[in-house]
């Protein structure tokens, strides 16, 4: 996992989630920018995001906290790289909660299996 917040928030998040994988921080957003990820207010606050949160609220889902040092406008993405560091798959989120499905990601891996 790659994040861009402060280490203290990262440690708190690790404690909350018990993530079993490495968590690295890219505070200067160098990797984010190299992968074409930029900030967006439309991606975060657009009306269908507002509706999504409203529907969650009605379903009784609690809102996520904002951690110290978080910049909510940085867009995320999912990327597969091979052993040489070459990009073999990229998914750049256009809005909040926009991520590839697990099936899509597993599909990328299955293509790699000899």
């Amino acid at each position: 996992m790659v994040a861009h917040g402060i280490r203290e928030s990262g440690l708190k998040w690790l404690e909350n989630t018990q993530l079993p994988f490495p968590l690295v921080l890219d505070k200067e957003l160098r990797l984010y920018r190299a992968l074409g990820l930029r900030k967006s207010v439309l991606g975060v606050w657009r009306i269908d995001s507002v509706l999504g949160y409203a529907e969650e609220r009605l379903a009784g889902v609690k809102g996520a906290p904002v951690y110290e040092g978080d910049d909510l406008h940085v867009m995320g993405g999912d990327f597969f790289v091979d052993s040489e560091g070459r990009l073999v798959y990229s998914y750049r989120s256009a809005k909040s909660r926009d991520r590839p499905s697990v099936e899509d990601l597993l599909g990328v891996l299955s293509k790699q299996t000899p």
Partner: protein, 221 residues
């Protein structure tokens, strides 16, 4: 905006049925919108039965009228705050309670509208208003709501354009495309140890059939 809406309605059609409008205004004023604090704390709102009779149609119209008016106010207030902000970074700073985060005021308005009508998703809300499309007042309010929702996103797109220009100098000289190598010498911080590591240490060099999945988060929340 064009004269046709996605529902094939006339924009800003004049509405007959003054008595329906008057009743709708009475009902609209009786609907309370929760505050932002209500939206982030407390239990979910209780569902009410679906509305399908004549009295139900009035409540639908009132709820749509209130929602459209509320979202319009959010858009107008946001546009004014953006123009008044000393600079773009100040406006988009999450800690600025008068900045872009105020657009989120629209969220509890949708919660209240949907809850008051006994629906819990946008799709259900649309099914409800489509079931009452014979009512010209309902059609007009739906048209108005869709128009203001488009304005909401158009405003944010405008801010995004300025953000893009603002960030242009910060962008990497080259965005990595498929089959290209990432900048493997990028220094990252291992959150657990606090130590510096290079991106290449995350690539699995032991087995060239293995891939490494990098999930770049939006934020910890």
């Amino acid at each position: 905006m064009g004269s046709q809406t996605p529902y094939g309605l006339k924009s800003r059609a004049s509405v007959g049925g003054a008595r329906v409008q008057s009743r709708a205004r009475e009902l609209a004023s009786s609907i309370r919108y929760p505050s932002m604090a209500d939206a982030t704390e407390g239990p979910g709102l209780a569902k009410r039965p679906r509305l399908e009779d004549e009295g139900g149609k009035c409540l639908l119209l009132a709820a749509l009228q209130k929602l459209a008016a509320g979202v319009t106010e959010v858009v107008e207030e946001s546009q004014a705050a953006y123009k008044a902000a000393p600079n773009l970074q100040d406006y988009i700073n999450f800690r600025n309670e008068f900045g872009v985060r105020r657009t989120f005021r629209a969220m509890p308005m949708y919660v209240e509208c949907m809850s008051s009508l006994g629906v819990s998703t946008r799709r259900e809300l649309e099914e409800l208003w489509k079931a009452h499309f014979k009512d010209e007042g309902v059609r007009e309010k739906v048209d108005e709501l869709i128009h203001v929702e488009e304005s909401f996103d158009e405003f944010l797109a405008e801010v995004d354009e300025e953000l893009k220009r603002d960030e242009a100098q910060l962008l990497a000289p080259h965005v990595v495309e498929d089959r290209e190598k990432l900048p493997l010498d990028v220094a990252l911080v291992d959150a657990r140890s606090g130590g510096t590591i290079k991106l290449e240490s995350l690539c699995d060099k032991e087995d060239n059939s293995h891939l490494t999945l990098l999930i770049l988060m939006r934020h910890f929340g």
